[in-house]
């Protein structure tokens, strides 16, 4: 759904008419959607009987995790596409999705302990899913640090694509490690209960939050991508101007 808006060719400096409009309608839709989802979750959804108000974190926590997975999936795919085709739009999309992925992972790792303290009785535990998310955060942060540490644009694109692909290969191994670890040393915690049926009111809230969060994720990647296009265009104008003087 976003491919049409990624059409701007970055290699040629953009003229004023080609520039992305200042009003980002998708972002506005996402913010309004998130606001509505929050209002519904806080004021118009019943409080869960066993967990109390803390359960409401679920509505933000799970959609944020899914948005993080979407973003990191985009990083892995665009990394492969970049090494294959060498298209710099793929690299810029990977950069945008990496930053947005880190944002959502941070949201997951913040809301998780907030829920865990009252429900599990601890901020953190080395449970398989928590450990995996933490390492995803480290990998994504490392990916962005690498991007910031390479000056040359083509080299940065190749390096980060290589890291993106290797990280995608690593995730099954970390997953396997933490599950082996978990089965050998069972933790005295109750994993998040898989409810066979959620009351309709809660389900609607969750799905609404999920939709709003996904739109926000796409809107953020799109906005970050547009910023990347303009930044690169500006750099090219500057370097062209530098040669002229």
């Amino acid at each position: 759904m976003t491919s049409a808006s990624f059409g701007g060719e970055a290699s040629a400096p953009l003229s004023v008419s080609q520039r992305a409009p200042l009003f980002d309608w998708l972002f506005v839709v996402a913010v309004i959607g998130m606001a509505m989802a929050y209002v519904r979750a806080i004021f118009f959804t019943p409080i869960e009987a066993l967990q109390g108000a803390a359960q409401k974190i679920y509505y933000l926590h799970v959609p944020a995790a899914l948005s993080a997975y979407i973003s990191l999936g985009v990083v892995a795919l665009t990394s492969i596409v970049y090494l294959w085709l060498g298209d710099e739009r793929a690299d810029r999309l990977a950069e945008s999705a990496g930053e947005v992925g880190l944002l959502f992972l941070t949201a997951v790792l913040t809301t998780g302990p907030l829920w865990g303290k009252p429900i599990w009785g601890t901020w953190w535990t080395w449970d398989a899913r928590l450990t995996l998310t933490l390492f995803l955060w480290f990998l994504t942060a490392g990916y962005l640090v690498l991007r910031g540490a390479v000056e040359d644009r083509a080299m940065r694109a190749r390096y980060s694509a290589v890291l993106g692909i290797l990280a995608a290969l690593l995730i099954p191994f970390i997953h396997l490690s933490v599950y082996l670890f978990n089965t050998l040393h069972p933790m005295p915690i109750v994993l998040k209960p898989e409810k066979p049926s959620m009351p309709t009111e809660m389900l609607v809230t969750f799905l609404g939050f999920f939709a709003a969060c996904t739109v926000l994720c796409i809107a953020l990647i799109r906005a970050r991508y547009r910023y990347g296009v303009e930044r690169d265009a500006l750099r090219e104008l500057e370097s062209a101007g530098g040669e002229g003087y």
């Binding site: 090494l83 390492f135 990280a167 396997l176």
Partner: protein
């Protein structure tokens, strides 16, 4: 694989090892670091509360991880001086062969460190290694292949960045998690004299990691060089 890939990899490995053998500075420095680390760890916990045999696997693998990073650092660091890397790239050998040669030299380097550090841990921590020693070396070799494959690739990348020696650990350590985990668990099974069948899932993890990342890093390496 094209013919001559392994032969040219051996040439590259021999070149790196010859440089190392003639100076011997890096090997001795890393060995000192490893043994110092083992000694310092001994003072970091209450020896009356926790038995040395329970901590040895963890100590061993944390030390190997960090001494491995130290040794990988210089793998492409030595090629920066006088732009020696350009000469290496001009030579009529495949880029995959450069990677495999560098990785082989690093593997020999890291294995040499392990070969000397493991007995010294046994000695200093008073562990009854004895018959366990050959299997422990085999576990160490399996783990070293994985560490070196990933580390050599990231060393090539980090050498060209602004952060260089800071970036290598940041990129490598998440990748070392399955290796350190598998090796440390297999080591503790071995040292506790439990049946080795219990360690089999961890050894399988190490073997799978080695195969996947040796292949992936060899294929990815040409992309990290200047075109």
């Amino acid at each position: 694989m094209r013919p001559g890939l392994l032969a040219s990899a051996l040439v590259v490995a021999r070149k790196d090892l010859a440089i190392e053998f003639r100076t011997r500075t890096a090997f001795l420095a890393v060995l000192m670091f490893a043994i110092l680390g083992v000694a310092i760890f001994y003072f970091a916990w209450d020896v009356t509360a926790v038995a040395a045999i329970d901590l040895a696997p963890g100590v061993l693998w944390v030390i190997f991880t960090f001494s491995g990073l130290l040794s990988l650092q210089r793998s492409f660091g030595v090629e920066l001086a006088d732009r020696a890397m350009d000469a290496l790239l001009l030579s009529p050998i495949d880029r995959e062969a450069i990677f495999l040669g560098k990785a082989l030299a690093n593997l020999i380097f890291v294995s040499g460190i392990q070969l000397l550090t493991i007995p010294s841990v046994g000695l200093l921590y008073n562990l009854p290694l004895g018959h366990a020693l050959p299997i422990l070396f085999a576990i160490a070799l399996l783990a070293a292949v994985g560490l070196v494959a990933v580390g050599t690739l990231f060393s090539a990348m980090a050498a060209n960045t602004r952060l260089a020696e800071l970036l290598l650990p940041m990129l490598s350590l998440p990748f070392f998690v399955p290796v350190v985990y598998g090796a440390a668990q297999a080591t503790s099974t071995l040292l506790a004299a439990r049946p080795m069948a219990e360690a089999w899932p961890f050894l399988k993890l190490l073997i799978a990691f080695d195969l996947v990342f040796l292949t992936a890093c060899t294929l990815a390496f040409p992309y990290t060089l200047e075109e």
